[in-house]
Subunit: 416 residues, 2 copies
Amino acid sequence: MKADIITIGDEILIGQITDTNSQWIAEKINLSAYEIRQITTVGDNKEQIKNCLDNVIPNTDLVIITGGLGPTEDDITKETLADYFGMKLVLNYDVLSDVQSFVNSKGFKMNELNQKQAEVPEHCKILRNKNGTAPGMWFEKEQTIIISLPAVPFEMKEILKNCVLPELQVLNKDKESKIVHKTVLVYGYPESELAELLSDWESKLYNKIKLAYLPSPERIRLRLSIICDSEEKALSIIEDEVNKLKKILGYHIFGYGDTFMQNVIGELLVNREKTLSVAESCTSGNIARLITSVPGSSMYFKGGIVAYSNEIKNKMLNVSESTLQSYGAVSEEVVKEMAVGQRNLFKTDYAVAVSGIAGPGGGTIDKPVGTTWIAIADTYGVSAFKFNFGNRRELNVRFASTKALDLLRLRILSRS
Amino acid sequence: MKADIITIGDEILIGQITDTNSQWIAEKINLSAYEIRQITTVGDNKEQIKNCLDNVIPNTDLVIITGGLGPTEDDITKETLADYFGMKLVLNYDVLSDVQSFVNSKGFKMNELNQKQAEVPEHCKILRNKNGTAPGMWFEKEQTIIISLPAVPFEMKEILKNCVLPELQVLNKDKESKIVHKTVLVYGYPESELAELLSDWESKLYNKIKLAYLPSPERIRLRLSIICDSEEKALSIIEDEVNKLKKILGYHIFGYGDTFMQNVIGELLVNREKTLSVAESCTSGNIARLITSVPGSSMYFKGGIVAYSNEIKNKMLNVSESTLQSYGAVSEEVVKEMAVGQRNLFKTDYAVAVSGIAGPGGGTIDKPVGTTWIAIADTYGVSAFKFNFGNRRELNVRFASTKALDLLRLRILSRS
């Protein structure tokens, strides 16, 4: 089956924002056994939207539209779709109640614009939105399903996951081909090195399996997918391949599916009833933020010190002034004292410390921008590791944070 | 004048990568007085590419194509374009010399695949590529210019900047229309409320100005753009409207262009030579992370305490046990003691403290998930404010962090 994505928004056409929704949708829809035929971005313009629909609908089975559903005048997708499908806009009381709840939860009052969000094309199926005021809408025309979703990513994602994908699954349950997939989460190799390491395995991979590398600073997702008639058989084929991967990659596989390093660490600490705190200089709270992105992290995470200045490293973490002066803040000696100081101060089983030069300023010949020391302290002592994460400030922080979490993960695993 | 962008690549359609080239091209082309009509992504498929060109060329003045120019078999853009325009592929010696230089510079040898990169459609204009093996190509058909560029961002950008934009400028030098933009950054209103507040102004807006609302949890960008023959005149028209906006929105305008709250705070603190620290519970390092995303933030930011547990609030920030017991961690009393304790501990001019229930657990009837207290302490004392940011953990943290920064901004402004 074929699917099209249409993104509506002047802000994309003038280059003000990158359309990241389409990638997310493409990946999800792809896993529901649709091949994406085309992605089209058009402006908030009635005629353009209609022309685009005219071009797309006869050539595809499913159209996912995002954008143009806000309450303001420049957003015209809903009116355009109503017009295109020859429907009137009518007030929908379910949607009105959703909008009211949402608006109230934010402490705001209903106004005319919000009320207008509850007017929907009369014969479309409503996909309710708990996270915003614009409902999703499901239309059908000439055997093609056309779905309109808001462009705000978390609203769009929730509606797609909760209302669209399950419904598509039901509709397509009699069609023979199913896509079965498993994602292996790998950390610690650049993509090209991983590809080289896996080239032999890849060349012998069961020929119906499609392999995709999905790299980001936090993890490389290796997605194995297979289209087949028997789900059971497909799962067993994929499991065989994953077992081979385990032998090649060992501890570099940190999980499966869609989890992150911080979730894996959470499980390890909960299972072992251990606690954690962090002392952050260049990552400045980012590791703490990642750790607490896991619901329930208060069970094992006590908090930490953001020690951005040397004064705070000394005063709070007990890093000695002479160490700071002799070796500089970005050094093995300082980061070890930070980790030990943090562990003592917060009385946790594990402490992580990071000190680095995030850039753009602050680099020297000996310690160029990107130089980063990470230390892990536990009851057995403290170890430190040196890295260079390059010269882009934001990426640097992301790389350093994930590496610190991975070192912690390996430390926990090595002691149990 | 109108322009279209076509991106060619299977990897985008399966959701493997985000197409960031289109945003960059859109912005650049837009500033050359082209309005982008549509962005289309198609696969590495001859028929699809031809269909797309058939649909696009009659409706636009300029087409920028990226992708599908690599040396491997899946890349078919060049052959498809030659075929589409009825041209043969011929060896071009200028390109061959470029390819040879490039390959040599990397320490590799020429092979058959590289040699093939120097074959180009016979009557197209070549746009030479110093950074890779695929040249850009310039075609014309029915008054429309069609330009094909490699998808590697660095190669594409260099060719566009050096060969395409200057050429377009020469071609269009007699055409008078220019696009001028200004973006006003607003915080503190939901989009619908802002739209209501501005409806009167909007209805009287100079009729050639296009207005767009671009909302995110961190800010609403109000983009005013105008196409006109004189840049000077356009700027003055936009400036008039911005002045009217200033009267309506006052301090809710926190900046212009593409800045963020943390950058504005950085400037305020640097100008006043003041220092800052933060005490974070539910935001757990996120405010510290935002503040230090600004290069040079070490000039005013000393760091902070991530006080995720009550024990740490008490031990580090000196929040009294009786306050914690009487009022609970998420309360006016506790957040004020956190801010004052933080300010004393780190000896900073300003301290921000946040305590809230990020969810999904931990809510009660009196204090539902999302309840958040924020306090700002300075030399004049401490103030606290209560909010509810809803029940989604991650968003909650983003909303709370930006609100805390905004309260700090207003506090700094109110004292100077």
